[in-house]
């Protein structure tokens, strides 16, 4: 392919000093570690053609005089394939009611007396129709809340209607229920497994920590969650050969200030529950959590330190022969090692708001994302893109909130990101910026989201430079490929 005049030295790349080496990355998603000497040669165009290092750098698109334009364009296309697909994640907030009083309660759940915050059947149907009017081949409905099981009739309606609707549409439809499991019963579980709905439960760690973060009267939410997690897995294993897809249960863990000293116990609690991994999610000062940040929040350094200890522990567990995944690291490793998009909506350019996900509130209002919906619960509807009763999909996509989030999260337009070595793998969150710093663009050098991800990327690349750890990350990606739904 004919192209512009080649550069005499290096092709476009980003650089960061890390652990005594130079990490170079490029827009096409490749990375390479160089010694100081090799880096100086790369800069000056002095690497010897034909040497092993030259060939590897050439293959990865770092040698300006020998660029495979067509191959790199293909890599860029695959890495950013989400740009052409439309929103695939559709969050259904079937109720704001909840029977827990979690310390962080990012979902801004409301008192049980406010039954007006249940999604109606009409709003549910219109939300499903809106989802199907979007262009994505892959559709995921994720039931959130509040506690979705408090509006079980509407959850079961959406499951049946979406499955029925998809018989003629033939999309890749997946359904997932995010629940605290305390209102689960056998009938509901039968229904969910019959309709191939995966279950993702809240699990913050060992009982004392979980029940402190997620109080449920005088009862232990942890004990009930654990009982159901085991029952879901028991049923999955009992059905052989499987007549349908019964998913392994997964969990969501939220890190509060109280979680920080218990990195080992949190990992052990997930291992003891027979789970395949843990997702060490940082807390964000969005919605209700913003109001109580002083009590339960923490700084980027504290979180990254917690994450580093937990990840190193997990890597050692894997090296001892027990496969166990840290899900955030696995998703970022997918981007770094496979140059592919794992659908991690927080880490994209532009971010997943609108173009990757939509959140349907109980009243039919649609938001760019669940975080945007949480801001609305505090009285600010800046991230509302429309309503399922009065707008079309095209209206939503043309709304100022949708377009504003795309523009603000485009890393090329963010000064601190545009030349960052982690740009090919990272993303910013306009809702976070808005809540924490007062504007969609924010100020990245002072931004905790940026500091957290910079810390995590530093850690991941340091570990990826060690062959035995790199092998663990690669094994996680192999497992996820085998287990991906067909």
């Amino acid at each position: 392919m004919a192209g512009p005049k080649p550069s005499a030295a290096a092709a476009p790349f980003f650089v960061r000093r890390l652990g005594g080496k130079y990490l170079v990355t490029n827009e096409w998603g490749y990375h390479h570690f160089l010694s100081g000497r090799s880096f100086a040669k790369l800069r000056a165009g002095g690497l010897r053609p034909g040497s092993g290092e030259w060939e590897e750098l050439q293959r990865k698109g770092f040698i300006g005089t020998h660029l495979d334009f067509q191959g790199l364009a293909r890599d860029f296309r695959i890495k950013n394939n989400f740009l052409w697909s439309g929103p695939s994640l559709h969050i259904f907030v079937t109720t704001l009611r909840c029977n827990h009083a979690c310390l962080y309660c990012q979902s801004s759940a409301v008192a049980g007396s406010r039954r007006g915050t249940n999604m109606s059947v009409k709003a549910a149907r219109a939300s499903v129709d809106m989802m199907f009017s979007g262009p994505s081949r892959n559709l995921t409905i994720e039931f959130q809340g509040g506690e979705p099981l408090l509006n079980w009739p509407v959850v079961s309606f959406v499951v049946r209607y979406a499955r029925r609707r998809n018989e003629s549409d033939s999309r890749n439809l997946t359904l997932s229920l995010v629940t605290n499991l305390t209102l689960m019963d056998s009938d509901k579980l039968d229904f969910l497994q019959e309709h191939e709905v995966s279950i993702c439960a809240s699990l913050d760690g060992p009982a004392a920590l979980h029940d402190r973060n997620r109080p449920w009267g005088r009862k232990s939410s942890h004990a009930v969650a654990l009982r159901w997690l085991r029952e879901i897995e028991r049923r999955r294993l009992a059905e052989a050969p499987p007549k349908r897809r019964i998913f392994k249960p997964s969990t969501l863990m939220t890190t509060s200030r109280y979680s920080l000293p218990f990195w080992r116990q949190i990992v052990d609690a997930h291992l003891d529950a027979g789970l395949e991994g843990v997702f060490l999610r940082p807390l964000s000062p969005i919605g209700y959590a913003k109001r109580v940040w002083g009590e339960i929040g923490y700084g980027a350094r504290e979180y990254v330190d917690f994450y580093r200890r937990a990840l190193d522990y997990i890597l050692e567990i894997n090296l001892r022969g027990r496969p166990f995944v840290e899900r955030m690291a696995a998703m970022l490793a997918m981007k770094i090692l496979r140059r592919n998009d794992p659908n991690f909506l927080d880490c994209r350019s532009p971010c997943g708001a609108g173009i990757g996900q939509l959140a349907y509130n109980y009243d039919g209002d649609v938001y760019t994302c669940d975080e945007g919906r949480m801001v609305a619960q505090q009285g600010d509807r800046s991230f509302r893109v429309g309503n399922v009763f009065t707008h079309t999909y095209q209206d939503l996509a043309a709304s100022p909130a949708w377009r504003g989030c795309c523009l603000a999260s485009l890393l090329d337009a963010q000064p601190a990101c545009s030349r960052c070595a982690y740009k090919p793998y990272c993303g910013v969150c306009p809702v976070y910026n808005y809540e924490a710093q007062g504007s969609l663009w924010g100020c990245l050098p002072r931004n905790m989201h940026c500091q957290v991800f910079r810390g995590i990327f530093d850690l991941l690349f340091e570990r990826l430079a060690v062959p035995r750890y790199r092998g663990v990350f690669a094994s996680w990606l192999d497992r996820s490929r085998k287990e991906a739904p067909q």
Binding site: A73, H100, S136
Partner: protein, 164 residues
């Protein structure tokens, strides 16, 4: 090249022939995590960058910040230069990528026309809605009749304990 002004402020003079203004601005922006930077032009060839640190620090720390700024300035000039020289290559490759057919082409959806259900599908949907509405009505009746809930598992936190 640099002057320490006081308890928490350091001024650095930068030659604009050596470091283009874009590089100076960019470097100053990166220091916003610890300082409020101010850039003042001194003629056409020089700029004066004042880093007003957000916390009061000792002179030794100020000297370190000055050194860090100068080091970052060098690094940013290099990065700016690499990207500037390669801009046409980068744009060419991205343009090629945009013109390629999608890796997994999503079938064009027919929009609202697809939302029209057949009569049979409408009947099925009506049945589902009726079923759900009946369940919701039963639940409401149960609540009105204070349906037994001996374990209290349906109660929300506020129902069980009142508002905090």
């Amino acid at each position: 090249m640099a002057k320490i002004n006081g308890q928490s402020e350091v001024t650095i003079a930068v030659g604009l022939r050596e470091f283009p203004m874009e590089v100076v601005r960019f470097t100053a922006y990166l220091f916003m995590d610890r300082a409020d930077p101010l850039i003042a032009l001194e003629g056409k060839r020089r700029a004066r960058v004042t880093l007003r640190l957000r916390a009061a620090v000792a002179g030794k720390r100020l000297a370190l910040e000055k050194a860090a700024f100068l080091k970052e300035l060098e690094a940013q000039r290099f990065q700016w230069d690499v990207l500037r020289k390669n801009r046409s290559i980068q744009e060419f490759i991205v343009r090629q990528a945009l013109q390629q057919p999608p890796a997994a082409a999503p079938a064009p959806e027919s929009g609202n026309s697809d939302l029209e259900l057949s009569q049979e599908e409408e009947r099925e949907l009506d049945r589902l809605i009726a079923e759900v509405e009946e369940t919701l009505a039963k639940e409401a009746k149960g609540r009105a009749g204070k349906k037994k809930d001996p374990l209290g598992i349906r109660k929300t936190w506020e129902e069980a304990h009142g508002r905090a």
